[in-house]
């Protein structure tokens, strides 16, 4: 093509093609499957995202204030030590390195429940905002899961013979409502395993021990 206008037309066409390819790819990727959800599911998803974003915004505000506090402390030794010590204490409680106490729930599980059922209960407690969980005196960290062994259930090296108890620290009404709602986790377990009974009781004071296993990585290198 020799004419200048012809080259321009072809260039414009190439640009338009590129634009359409991008639009098409983006339109397929952007909703990421959300368009398949029902209005009710979308509403639940939005409620979850809203709650989470409020919590994240609170964390962001707390971190900003901590940064300001650290900067203000400057070289004032006592203020600095207090600020770091408070953060250390909070982090160890959250990570399961230290024991904690607080309001919560007691869940007594009886009958032939499988490991997946117990792990699902733990997952539901986390989803409802439980801040610390223990199963028969074993603090449940990220890596602690209940296992199905040939002779029964176990968590860490503790055998779980029904009836056994799960303790959780968190808002008692919220935890109880989340576990016992119609169509919730307990209902689903009892439909698939009718001989299992699960009783939830709010508690004014729950003691959760520290984890007994080392919490530092053996193979992973921290990237600080």
């Amino acid at each position: 093509m020799k004419s200048r206008s012809g080259r321009l037309a072809l260039t414009a066409l190439a640009v338009l093609l590129g634009f359409l390819v991008v639009v098409q790819l983006r339109s397929q990727a952007s909703a990421g499957g959300l368009e398949n959800l029902s209005a009710a599911d979308l509403t639940t998803l939005i409620a979850n995202l809203n709650t989470r974003n409020e919590q994240l915004a609170a964390e962001q505000a707390a971190l900003r204030s901590r940064l300001t506090e650290l900067r203000a402390a400057g070289t004032q030794h006592e203020r600095l030590v207090t600020a770091i010590r408070d953060e250390l204490e909070r982090m160890r409680r959250w990570a399961g390195v230290d024991p904690v106490v607080g309001r919560g729930v007691r869940i007594v599980v009886d009958g032939p429940i499988g490991a997946n059922g117990v792990n699902d209960l733990i997952n539901e407690l986390r989803s409802a905002g439980a801040e610390a969980i223990a199963v028969e005196g074993v603090r449940i960290t990220a890596s602690d899961v209940v296992a199905d062994l040939p002779d029964g259930l176990a968590v860490e090296d503790i055998a779980l013979a029904p009836p056994f108890t799960i303790w959780a620290v968190g808002n008692p009404p919220v935890l109880t409502a989340s576990l016992t709602r119609v169509g919730g986790i307990i209902g689903r377990i009892q439909v698939s395993q009718p001989l299992v009974s699960i009783a939830v009781e709010p508690q004014a004071l729950v003691d959760i021990p520290a984890t007994r296993h080392p919490t530092g990585p053996r193979f992973g290198q921290p990237r600080l």
């Binding site: 959250w94 904690v100 620290v169």
Partner: protein, 260 residues
Amino acid sequence: MTVGRFDLRWRRPAGWQVTLAAALLGLGFLVAVQLQSQGPRARYTSQERPPLVATALELSDRQAGLKASIAELRSEIQQLESAVAEDDVAVSTLNESLVEARIAAGLVDLAGPGVALQFDDAHGPLPAGANASDYRVQAEDLRDLLSALWLGGAEAIAINGERVTIATAVIDIGGTVLVNSAYLAPPYVITAIGGDDLYERLTGSDALRSLLDGRVVPFALDLRAGPLDEVDVPAYAGNVRLVEARPVPTATPAVPGTEP
């Protein structure tokens, strides 16, 4: 006044004409695909759903922004603490303990030997009368895979970049999966750090066998895994929420350097 004349004799098309024709064909195809892909969505979302989808996407974007900001603030705080610790022995000791606690909590990136897995929905047409959700990776499938990894000796795991922590829940909402309340879409990429034998322990485990026999094989889910000399598991960028959990009153200091 001149009048243009048309030459109706057949001539071999020039190279640029062929290129232009091919480009126009491509353009037409893309326009058609674009219009078709918008069609069904526009039809069924004609009432309440488009604003809901848009709101969910907006909130997801906001969540990503908040997490990025939190990660940045944590890094700034850590740098400040380390800088102060250089000149102060007491602060330095406390700071080392704080870094250890943050590593235990999953607030620090880790890299090390482990495995990478990809878990995706079934591909291709479904059998007649099949329940479509059975052929999608569900939260329970991911939870079972996490259990198999932890029992196989994993020490740190992330799903699509979301670090699995002590507070992480993996839940279904409709056909979607939330991890740390972040909306994730398949394929799910799971990275896990463990010993050199993590892959062997995982693939030889009863927990994985049960997932394969119960879900992956019967519903043609796409699960792939391989060992890697180094995988990255990013830090948790969410909130550390402690409202009810208080320290246990103790006669001995729980935290190094604290007064009883």
